[in-house]
Structure formats: structure tokens, C-alpha cells
């Protein structure tokens, strides 16, 4: 199952906004058992580590770390945010 992150905004920055986005993802996206949840960042201008940390923490807690995958992107804010979160 693929989640288009751009549906949640073009500039994604704060923890409260990340928490809201994660709640909405969990409420409206229903992956099949064992299916991977792919986060697609294409079309997003900027993501901050606070927003992304809230989203990834919530999704990983719900579906397990291995099932939540960030699709490859050239967006440097996503790349650097992921490094900051997973360091």
C-alpha cells in the first residue's frame, strides 16, 4: 500500500501536524495483513524531522518497523530528516 505524503501538505514541519497526519493515515488506510506501507514523498517541498518522527513512530508502532518503508527520494529534507531520526 502506497501513501502519497503530498496529500498531507507541501511543507510538513511540526510534531502536532505529524501526529494528526499519522492518525489520519491509520484511520483511512487499511493495509492487507503483511502488506508493506510505502511512503511516497514525491511532490513534497519540505519535510522536517519532527513531523516525520511523529509519522514514522506511529506507523511503526501500529504495523511494525519492517513493514513501513520510505520510498527513495531526492528531496534533501527527507533524506536528512531520516538520518536524524534513525541515527
Amino acid at each position: 500500500m502506497r501513501i502519497e505524503i503530498k496529500r498531507y501538505g507541501n511543507v510538513l514541519s511540526s510534531r502536532p501536524a505529524g501526529r494528526e497526519a499519522a492518525l489520519a493515515m491509520k484511520a483511512y488506510q487499511r493495509p492487507k495483513p503483511g502488506e508493506k506501507i510505502e511512503l511516497d514523498f514525491s511532490g513534497v517541498l519540505s519535510v522536517g524531522p519532527s513531523w516525520l518522527d511523529e509519522v514514522l513512530s506511529a506507523l511503526r508502532a501500529e504495523y511494525g518497523t519492517k513493514r513501513v518503508v520510505c520510498l527513495p527520494t531526492r528531496n534533501p529534507s527527507v533524506i536528512e530528516s531520516l538520518k536524524a531520526i534513525d541515527s
Binding site: 514541519s13 522536517g48 529534507s77
Partner: protein, 259 residues
């Protein structure tokens, strides 16, 4: 050599942090035509720079951000006399909406990758104002958020009248000795004033971004503490030395070189 009138113009502009021609004419008591000649000469000599267009054109000191208004706002002991709604974001929603407007800086020569990182870094700093000061504002809530481009650089200022980094971090780390040590900890160690919540990587992220290119830098003041990072950090630091070391709260100035 500048004439007396031109020296006066530069002094007025420096003191005010930027003035419109109509404001300058009122102070100097000279005709608009004479003022226009002086301004044209001062721009040609590299002393002043015009920002904006038409009747909203303001003249500022070339290459330097105009920070007098936020400096006064931050330093005021009571509620600030002036708290312009165009710069002060009283809620996180207002800050978030204005953060998105930085996207228009692509017109100023900031490429997509640089813009993405700048917005991300500014977002972390601005959101910190709200994350760490809810219920602890000195009097008015929110942050002063302003972006200016001058001297081929983009300057972004985020200031708040909250409790400051030392006060915030001391809850989690009572052994922190002073305001400078608190700032260094905030930017260099993974710790948060909101412990035991698992957070505290935002400012480390910001530091890494500004240190990732010689075209970036920042300085941050919180009380008597003042730190800078990145190649343009010392320039930012120079502009924050005039900000009050007695006022609580935090001021961060970022600089990004424009192509």
C-alpha cells in the same frame, strides 16, 4: 566622501533598521527630488540598498539585515510597544502558514534543494518556540518570524519571548551551569526540555544542515548565551550581539547565500 546629508540618511536608516523615502523626507526636511538624488548616490556607492517596489520601497544598509524592530520587541521588559501582526505569529498555525510562504524565495535565486533544507531548518526552530514555551510566555505568546534578502544573502530571524533554552533544559538536566552551556547542549546533544518525551533531535538537525555547505550559517542567542554554526555563522553572530542578554527567550538568525 559622503556629504552631511548623506551621512545623516545612513545614520537614520541604520538606527531605524530601514526607512521609506517619505519617512526620510520628514526627518531631513528636504524636497523629494533632493532626497531621491541622495538615495540614488548612496545606492550607487554601495551604502544603501532598496528593498521592495513602488510606494513600499524601503532603504536599508546594504548587505545587512534590518533587525532593529525585532531587537526592540525581544528586549522590551513589559509587553512590547509594537508587535506587528505581519511578523509576530501568535500561534503555531500562523507560523506554519507563513513558513510555507518561504517557497516564494525560489524567485530570489534559492534552488529547490536549498529551499527544501532552509524551510525544514526554519520549521524546526520556529516550532521549538511553541513546543517549549506553551504556558511560559513572558507576556505575549508566539514568535517574530521575518525573512529579508540583502547583499546576496537571505536572512531569516525567529525570536520568541519565552523562557529561554537554559530554563527549559534545566528541568531535564539540572547540572547545566549556564545559558551558553545550555545552548551548546541544545545544538550538540540529543536531549530535550520535554523529557521524558522521546524528542530533542531538531536543533542537531538544524546544525547539521547549516554546516553542510559554506553557503549557510546561523547564530542563536538565549540570555547571555550566544553560539554560531556554519561558515556564515560568525556574520549572524555579529548581528545578534546587539540583542539583549538580559531578556529571556531565544533569538535565532539564519543566513543563506543566494546565487
Amino acid at each position: 566622501m559622503k556629504t552631511n546629508t548623506r551621512s545623516e540618511i545612513v545614520a537614520f536608516v541604520r538606527s531605524a533598521g530601514g526607512l521609506r523615502p517619505i519617512e526620510l523626507a520628514g526627518k531631513l526636511g528636504i524636497t523629494p527630488q533632493a532626497l531621491h538624488r541622495h538615495l540614488k548616490a548612496l545606492v550607487a556607492s554601495g551604502d544603501l540598498e532598496a528593498c521592495g517596489r513602488g510606494p513600499k520601497t524601503r532603504y536599508v544598509i546594504a548587505g545587512e539585515p534590518a533587525l532593529e524592530a525585532p531587537r526592540r520587541w525581544h528586549a522590551a521588559r513589559g509587553a512590547p510597544a509594537e508587535s506587528p501582526a505581519s511578523f509576530v505569529c501568535e500561534t503555531r498555525d500562523v507560523f506554519s502558514a507563513r513558513l510555507g510562504r518561504l517557497a516564494s524565495l525560489s524567485k530570489e535565486g534559492l534552488g529547490g534543494a536549498e529551499l527544501s533544507l532552509l524551510i525544514s531548518a526554519v520549521g524546526e526552530i520556529g516550532n521549538n518556540c511553541f513546543d517549549h514555551n506553551l504556558g511560559h510566555w513572558r507576556n505575549i505568546p508566539g514568535c517574530w518570524f521575518e525573512a529579508q534578502s540583502t547583499g546576496k544573502r537571505l536572512w531569516v530571524l525567529v525570536a520568541d519571548r519565552g523562557q529561554g533554552v537554559f530554563q527549559s533544559l534545566s528541568r531535564a538536566l539540572p547540572e547545566i551551569p549556564d545559558e551558553r552551556a545550555a545552548l551548546l547542549t541544545a545544538f550538540e546533544k540529543r536531549v530535550s526540555g520535554r523529557a521524558p518525551e522521546n524528542r530533542g533531535n531538531g536543533l542537531k538537525f538544524v546544525r547539521k544542515i547549516v554546516e553542510g555547505s559554506p553557503a549557510r550559517g546561523l547564530a542563536c542567542r538565549s540570555g547571555a548565551g550566544l553560539v554560531d554554526y556554519g561558515a556564515l555563522g560568525p556574520d549572524c553572530r555579529g548581528h545578534l550581539t546587539d540583542f539583549s542578554s538580559k531578556a529571556s527567550g531565544t533569538v535565532t538568525l539564519l543566513a543563506w547565500r543566494l546565487s
